[in-house]
């Protein structure tokens, strides 16, 4: 019987549950400290460094790595690549949770979080880049929510509103692509205001373009990475269509990511040439810059290309991890390493343990919510009651996952 105390211990105290429980506990403690004692108690932020790890990781990396939503839906619905259809729902869910957690984490970082709606409803500043970023993230989060809602409605068995939203798919996709193009680039544009504070190797008038193009590579790589993890941990939730299309999605996205990374690499070289900052390459910062460019941009581009040529799935999957790490490194380099580079080390920013705990806490919440939704709602399979079309290769004898419905 599963109600035996020893069995209960075994199922409750798994390594995953223990680690997650510890992170959630620590996160809640720091949350209480943050909202009762203020930013100064839990962070190392100061007047020189008002943007710390919560902006670098939770916001800049979070938004870039959530780009899989607009890249996948654009590939499927705008460019008509229907063979990637099964990847859309997981990508939209990842993007929705990514953006929701960006906004959630922002509540920790801004001094008076209850005033977050002020720029839109009380005192707007439409000439500010930050206003544009805020408005786009606000609208895109709503768009992603509406794009995700059909899977929740299918789970609940509610047909009419679900059908109305499904008919809006193309319009929502176009709206999402427009908003993403705007705010992905505007996140880079935020740094245009600080040319004297940023290292010349990372500062460029093209930085909005760099952020936008690298976000496409980040999105494509995240879909491959997330698909690999889901394939491993949620295989039993996937239907034959998803499993049949999975390798094609991986190869197609790897090919796209390789070309985008090459374009990004060349654009960075154009940026260096336009600003004539080659001499900085011979410094310590230059070495770090070249590690980023060759180790995390050129190398993944080459490895993706080899993986596609050789039909080597493991190589592509590891390269996706390398690319994701490269995007994280780039966002940290722009917002931390290159920012305030002229200050002495004693005045440079390094995150406190409590800041890191909150970032890990936010990621953990994302993983838990993703697991909760993906194990209940039709994310990796088409709900049998709401099938748009029966794929030709799907035969009756192939196993289908049991649909989850409300209350079961």
């Amino acid at each position: 019987m599963s109600t035996e105390p020893t069995d209960l211990k075994k199922t409750l105290f798994t390594p995953f549950n223990v680690v997650v429980g510890a992170i959630l506990f620590l996160g809640l403690v720091v949350t209480v400290l943050r909202f009762t004692q203020g930013l100064g108690t839990v962070t190392n932020l100061d007047d020189n460094n008002p943007w710390g790890i919560w902006i670098s990781f939770d916001l800049l990396c979070g938004v870039a790595l959530a780009a899989g939503g607009y890249t996948t839906s654009a590939a499927c619905y705008v460019f008509g690549l229907k063979r990637y259809h099964s990847a859309v729902r997981p990508a939209i869910l990842t993007a929705f949770l990514g953006y929701a957690l960006v906004v959630f984490a922002l509540h920790y970082d801004v001094g008076r979080p209850w005033r977050l709606p002020y720029p839109f409803f009380v005192q707007s500043g439409p000439t500010s880049v930050l206003f544009e970023v805020g408005l786009c993230v606000f609208l895109y989060l709503i768009t992603l929510f509406i794009e995700w809602v059909p899977s929740a409605l299918e789970w609940l068995g509610i047909r009419k509103p679900r059908d109305i939203i499904v008919k809006m798919t193309l319009a929502l996709t176009i709206f999402g692509v427009v908003l993403s193009t705007m705010h992905q680039s505007s996140l880079g544009a935020l740094y245009l205001i600080a040319p004297s504070k940023m290292h010349p190797l990372w500062y460029s008038s093209y930085i909005p373009l760099f952020f936008f193009i690298s976000s496409i590579a980040a999105g494509l790589s995240m879909v491959i990475f997330e698909g690999t993890l889901s394939h491993h941990y949620m295989h039993h939730k996937m239907d034959a269509t998803y499993l049949g299309e999975h390798d094609g999605v991986t190869y197609g996205f790897a090919k796209g990511a390789a070309m985008v990374l090459v374009a990004y690499f060349f654009l960075k070289v154009v940026g260096l040439t336009m600003d004539n900052t080659w001499e900085y390459l011979l410094t310590g910062y230059g070495t770090w810059f070249m590690i980023e460019m060759f180790g995390f941009v050129a190398l993944p581009a080459l490895l993706f290309a080899i993986g596609v040529r050789e039909r080597n799935l493991p190589l592509i999957r590891w390269t996706a991890v390398l690319t994701v790490l490269g995007i994280v490194l780039n966002r940290f380099n722009v917002s931390q390493v290159a920012f305030n580079w002229h200050l002495p080390w004693a005045e440079r920013y390094f995150p406190s343990v409590m800041e890191i705990i909150i970032s890990v806490f936010v990621v953990t919440i994302g993983i838990l919510v993703f697991r909760f939704i993906a194990s209940r709602m039709p994310i990796f399979y088409e709900h049998p009651d709401f099938k748009e079309h029966e794929p030709l290769e799907l035969h009756e004898h192939e196993p289908k996952p049991h649909p989850q419905t409300w209350g079961h």
């Binding site: 090919k255 154009v270 040439t273 039909r311």
Partner: protein, 46 residues
């Protein structure tokens, strides 16, 4: 080392360099595309 006395001099130099660079970019991108898709036809035949 080039020395620039006016913004015009600077932009003439850097933009000129970018024109040369764009030629290399076009050739490089084309070569990379051919490298990626080089075996696509073989796979279709199989």
């Amino acid at each position: 080392m080039n020395e620039f006395y006016t913004l015009y001099d600077f932009q003439l130099f850097t933009k000129g360099a970018v024109y040369y660079l764009m030629g290399a970019v076009i050739l490089g991108t084309l070569g990379f595309w051919l490298f990626i898709t080089g075996r696509d036809e073989d796979k279709e035949i199989k």
